[in-house]
């Protein structure tokens, strides 16, 4: 039997005798639409899919494109485990259910003792099979199951249809391109078994995997042994590298986790009862946008961790005090050393006020000093609470805090709260951020005032913002970054340890 690839030319339609060509049909719709390759009559349009013999004849060139990239070859002779073999034939199969290339080669060999063997090359692995006569077998035992030497196997799990797509050499029968065979592949007691069932015959073979090295040594030593050794050596190096990166990944991840949960909230660090409201919801227009502006000064917080320690500042909206719905609020927060404010006010001949002005209706805006004249009775106005010059000096100082040539604050951080909703393809959505965490470090320990400026779309109660501070927070971001770097390096080396190949054919790890 010779090369059958020529036989497929000039294929005719069984219905009208017209020429067959390659085509495709669309199955499914929308995003699930898929182009399924088919053979099609150019005259009558008759279609032949992968369940027909014509399909394999038309697409024969696709199935044999890499037919020479194999370890074994016709006529090769070699010795494995003391037995001499000669390759005398080959059949290439394609799995019927696959549209893509999914082929394997079965090489027929005759041994020195006259027994036929099959060397199967599939997915970079080589198996050696011989005919096998089981003690008991019942292929129709139980509907979807068959029994084999005491074992019970599912036909669905082990079965598939193979189609012959190429044949060459001296075979014990004359296969046809596209011919189908029902197969069942399974393993039992350390052996691989294949049952091939056709209309009038059942053949059973049993085999084991043969290391590539043995096969190359036996049949292609001069051509491929050196390349095989290089390939395996390189893969081993990549495997070792991958192990190093795995160890580093575990180390980095562990440190990330430990440090991620570090830090403890300083209990009652921020006094929310005695805050000083310097400005309460003054309406302003900036760059064409209207907004409400508030200034709040929280009593001093004692921050005593050493300079190489991190703090975490959590600013959040207390919805229990005022709901936050479909609006935004931004804040800027400054840490100002107690001595600096005192010194600054002393220069102005004033002191820090000790009490906050009463807020009769927190949502009611307080007019600025300039607009205070003519305000209705009962509306709180800055300067009406007996704080005298201290209150105004502090308010004026903090209003100008950006303009002071010598910065008064030690640190400034800002954040946004928002609550939004809308509709998209999935329907209604509602998202929000009402709590912001920020890490910071301080060069100096001591008592710090927290000065907070609020910019909001709606009037917001000054006491609806909560501040919590945690100390002894450990930085973990860089361990997380190196974890991902190690992960990428591990993936690269792991893949290379499997795929690095100097040989023209696929080789799986032995």
């Amino acid at each position: 039997m010779g090369d059958n690839s020529e036989d497929i030319r000039g294929l005719k339609c069984t219905a009208c005798g017209g020429d067959l060509g390659k085509s495709y049909r669309i199955e499914g719709s929308g995003e699930d639409a898929e182009e399924i390759p088919i053979a099609k009559c150019l005259s009558c349009g008759n279609e032949f899919d992968q369940h027909t013999q014509e399909y394999y004849q038309v697409y024969a060139d696709m199935f044999i494109a890499d037919k020479d990239l194999t370890v074994l070859q016709l006529g090769a002779k070699g010795e494995i485990d003391g037995i001499e073999y000669e390759i005398i034939g080959r059949i290439r199969y394609q799995e019927e259910e696959e549209y893509e290339l999914s082929v394997w080669d079965e090489w027929m060999a005759v041994s020195s003792d006259g027994v036929y063997h099959w060397f199967v090359e599939e997915d970079g692995k080589i198996f050696s099979f011989t005919e096998y006569a089981p003690e008991d077998i019942d292929l129709e035992a139980d509907g979807n199951f068959f029994t084999f030497e005491g074992g019970r196997f599912s036909k669905e799990d082990t079965g598939f249809v193979a189609r012959i797509v190429y044949a060459e050499g001296e075979l014990s029968w004359e296969p046809e391109i596209g011919e189908s065979v029902q197969c069942y592949d399974f393993t039992q007691r350390g052996y691989n078994y294949t049952i091939e069932q056709s209309e009038d015959e059942v053949s059973i073979t049993r085999g084991k995997r043969v290391p590539h090295r043995k096969v190359i040594l036996a049949f292609r030593k001069d051509e491929y042994l050196q390349k095989y050794e290089n390939t395996m050596r390189k893969r081993k190096i990549y495997r070792r590298k991958a192990i190093v990166y795995v160890i580093m990944m575990i180390l980095a991840f562990s440190l990330t986790m430990v440090r991620c949960f570090s830090g403890h909230e300083i209990p009652d660090a921020v006094d929310h009862q005695n805050l000083i409201v310097l400005t309460n919801n003054v309406y302003k227009v900036e760059e064409g946008n209207g907004l409400y502006f508030s200034q709040i000064l929280f009593p001093p917080v004692h921050l005593s961790s050493s300079p190489d320690k991190l703090y975490e500042m959590q600013v959040s909206v207390d919805k229990g005090i005022q709901d936050f719905r479909l609006e935004w609020q931004s804040y800027r927060l400054m840490l100002i050393k107690k001595e600096k404010i005192k010194a600054h006010l002393k220069n102005r001949g004033a002191e820090i006020p000790q009490e906050t002005p009463p807020v009769t209706d927190p949502a009611e805006p307080v007019k600025s000093k300039e607009d205070a004249a003519g305000v209705a009775e009962g509306v709180p106005v800055a300067g009406n609470y007996g704080h005298g010059g201290g209150y105004f000096s502090l308010k004026n100082t903090l209003e100008e805090v950006d303009a002071l040539q010598e910065p008064m604050e030690s640190l400034s951080i800002s954040g946004d709260f928002w609550d939004e909703e809308g509709y998209d393809d999935e329907g209604h959505w509602h998202e929000y951020t009402t709590s912001v965490d920020q890490d910071f470090a301080l060069d100096e320990t001591g008592d710090y005032y927290i000065y907070l400026e609020s910019y909001s779309q709606n009037r917001r109660r000054p006491d609806s913002l909560k501040i919590a501070i945690s100390d002894n927070v450990k930085s973990y971001r860089y361990f997380l970054i190196v974890f991902f770097v190690f992960l990428v390096l591990w993936i690269i080396n792991h893949l290379k340890s499997k795929s690095y190949n100097e040989l023209p054919f696929e080789v799986a790890a032995d």
Binding site: A252, N289, P307, L310, L335, E421, A441, I481, V485
Partner: protein, 67 residues
């Protein structure tokens, strides 16, 4: 292999160093003050340093309050 171990150790040491010295974190104190001082020197009288509001829409899902 030596190169691999060396690269790993350098990466890990970098993470330890950056974490120890708190590289990239907001740091309050002299560094912040001197940076602000220089920044303010470059500002003209009456100019503001920034606007702290109106960055939205915040959600990546769509326009703010969009329906």
């Amino acid at each position: 292999m030596i190169r691999t171990i060396l690269v790993s150790l350098i990466l890990f040491s970098t993470a330890i160093g950056f974490s120890y010295y708190l590289v990239g974190y907001d740091r309050g104190g002299q560094h912040y003050i001197s940076r602000q001082r220089e920044h303010r020197k470059s500002l003209r009288v009456g100019s503001r340093t920034g606007v702290y509001y109106g960055h939205g829409p915040y959600s990546s899902r769509g326009p703010r309050f969009g329906k």
